[in-house]
């Protein structure tokens, strides 16, 4: 069933000190789409994501998630649909053990103990961290923290997965594991990242943001291989597509 699940109409946001971070953002995302959000630091990616989750409310324009318009009153409801994975896993894992962190969401949803156990087990299995359930978070590696952070969100069975820089600070293997994990999710995905190769791999569609405005919105294969477009927006080609002379042993 294909319907718009996320809809932004002319969204503007200005911080309390006056800085305009978003200047009229409009786009629609369909059910099941994977969309990459790309742009330099300060372009407005994080602000946009925080608006999507109701942490910030647009100063102008409208956001609707699953047909529910975003407002102070509907924030909680929308947060149930949107699973937000923050930039730093340490900020998301605040309970004494992995189990309790993953259970936090389901418990707040009001589920019974058995259901909570079920959700936690499934979520941890999904990210391959079931064996870590009794570990305290400060004893996890970066990659494990990332995975568990995703599990904490998955346990709430969100419709949409929003992720802010999921691949940063990961070693190559963990990064690859993360990419495979994301590719396996059928959820609607919105991923903000500097890792253009990851976006290319995981998201079929890509939105480029500059100075709070959308400058491009289209298939990743097109946008992310368009060198001119990327350079105009202070970006570069994905590393895997950059022609690097290979030194051949003579």
């Amino acid at each position: 069933m294909s319907h718009h699940i996320v809809e932004l109409k002319d969204v503007c946001y200005a911080y309390p000190d006056g800085t305009e971070a978003l200047k009229g953002i409009t786009f629609r995302i369909l059910h099941g789409e994977a969309v990459g959000l790309v742009g330099t630091n300060g372009a407005g990616k994080t602000t946009l994501l925080l608006n999507l989750n109701g942490h910030l409310i647009p100063t102008k324009g409208e956001i609707a998630v699953g047909e529910v318009p975003l407002s102070k009153g509907t924030r909680q409801e929308i947060r149930r649909k949107v699973g937000f994975v923050f930039q730093r896993p340490d900020d998301q894992l605040f309970m004494p053990t992995v189990y309790e962190d993953v259970a936090f969401g389901p418990i707040n949803l009001g589920l019974t103990e058995e259901k909570v156990e079920e959700r936690v087990t499934k979520a941890l299995e999904m990210v391959g961290c079931l064996h870590l359930r009794n570990r305290p978070p400060h004893r996890l590696s970066e990659g494990q923290k990332r995975s568990v952070a995703i599990a904490t969100v998955m346990a709430m069975k969100p419709d949409i997965l929003v992720m802010d820089e999921p691949g940063s600070n990961l070693d190559p293997k963990s990064r690859r594991q993360l990419i495979n994990l994301l590719k396996g999710f059928r959820h609607t995905k919105i991923i903000a990242s500097h890792d253009l190769d990851m976006i290319l791999d995981v998201c079929e569609r890509c939105i480029i943001i500059k100075d709070g405005k959308i400058v491009a919105d289209g298939p990743s294969e097109e946008l992310l291989l368009n060198e001119t477009l990327l350079e105009e927006n202070n970006l570069e080609l994905p590393l895997s597509r950059q022609c690097r002379p290979v030194k051949r042993p003579s």
Binding site: F94, P96, T97, G105
Partner: protein, 269 residues
């Protein structure tokens, strides 16, 4: 102790507390209560009683050996925190010079006896405190406190503090290293720089707290945090508690040591 050492020490005790031995498996509530009662008995000794204190070493020794805790680590920590007690205690020999006894013909003043008593009490109480955390995980202690009716807000505070302690120590460590790298021979450690450093650390901490709060909200937080309840008293725990406390009581009120000494003397004659 330098910053680095303190940092790793914290992690080390944390690691030790996750072992799985007989002692580790005892209910944390029992360990807390027994340790506390132990300390009360130890500090109740009068100032010139030395030998009667000796059997009390049984408790920390038991925790140490049955809990598979390396002796050196505990010894180092005890040594490290001794200055204050020693500093106060050293006045005793200076002020109390009345000769109390002369074992083997060497006169010993009351002051030295009470000083020795302070040292022994110090070693007993401090080692027990460290051993307690070495054989009990911190979350275990927190849950024990909650079950013992400590206010939940305080318990949650302890858990959050513990959780973010390592994170913040890491941040502070980096800041110190950066300061180290840019200060040559002491300049840079002035109070002005310090104030800047700490202020930045404070702001970053508050920002972190704001991000955590957002993460909590994203997962439906509405003010209640549920602490996991997994503690269950076993018969062994009760036996351990009853046995230890009885033993402490007997050792405190009956002079076993004198008996042992007299028996030994009798044998040697």
């Amino acid at each position: 102790m330098t910053f680095d050492l303190e940092f790793f020490n914290l992690g080390y005790l944390d690691t030790l507390s996750n072992k799985d031995t007989l002692v580790h498996r005892i209910d944390p509530r029992i360990k807390i209560i027994v340790s506390f009662i132990f300390i009360l008995f130890v500090v109740s000794f009068q100032k010139y009683e030395i030998s009667s204190l000796m059997p009390f070493f049984l408790y920390p020794v038991f925790l140490l050996t049955a809990g598979d805790i390396p002796f050196k680590a505990i010894a180092k920590k005890v040594l490290f925190v001794s200055p204050f007690a020693l500093f106060i205690g050293i006045f005793n020999p200076l002020l109390d010079t009345q000769i109390i006894t002369s074992p083997l013909g060497i006169p010993v003043s009351g002051g030295w006896l009470s000083f020795l008593s302070i040292i022994i009490k110090f070693v007993l109480t401090v080692s027990t405190a460290i051993l307690l955390i070495a054989v009990t995980s911190f979350p275990g202690i927190c849950e024990a406190l909650e079950r013992m009716k400590f206010p939940k807000l305080f318990v949650i505070q302890l858990l959050f503090l513990y959780r973010y302690l390592f994170v913040l120590l890491d941040v502070a460590l980096r800041m110190m290293r950066a300061r180290e790298a840019r200060s040559f021979g002491g300049r840079g450690k002035e109070i002005r720089t310090f104030i800047r450093l700490i202020s930045v650390l404070l702001i970053r901490s508050v920002e972190r707290a704001e991000r955590i709060y957002r993460a909590m909200l994203s997962r439906g937080f509405r003010g209640e945090i549920r602490v996991l309840r997994s503690l269950r008293l076993r018969p062994f725990d009760i036996v351990f508690a009853a046995g230890s406390i009885t033993m402490f009581y007997l050792l405190r009120n009956y002079d076993i040591v004198d008996l042992v000494g007299a028996a030994l003397e009798g044998v040697l004659r």
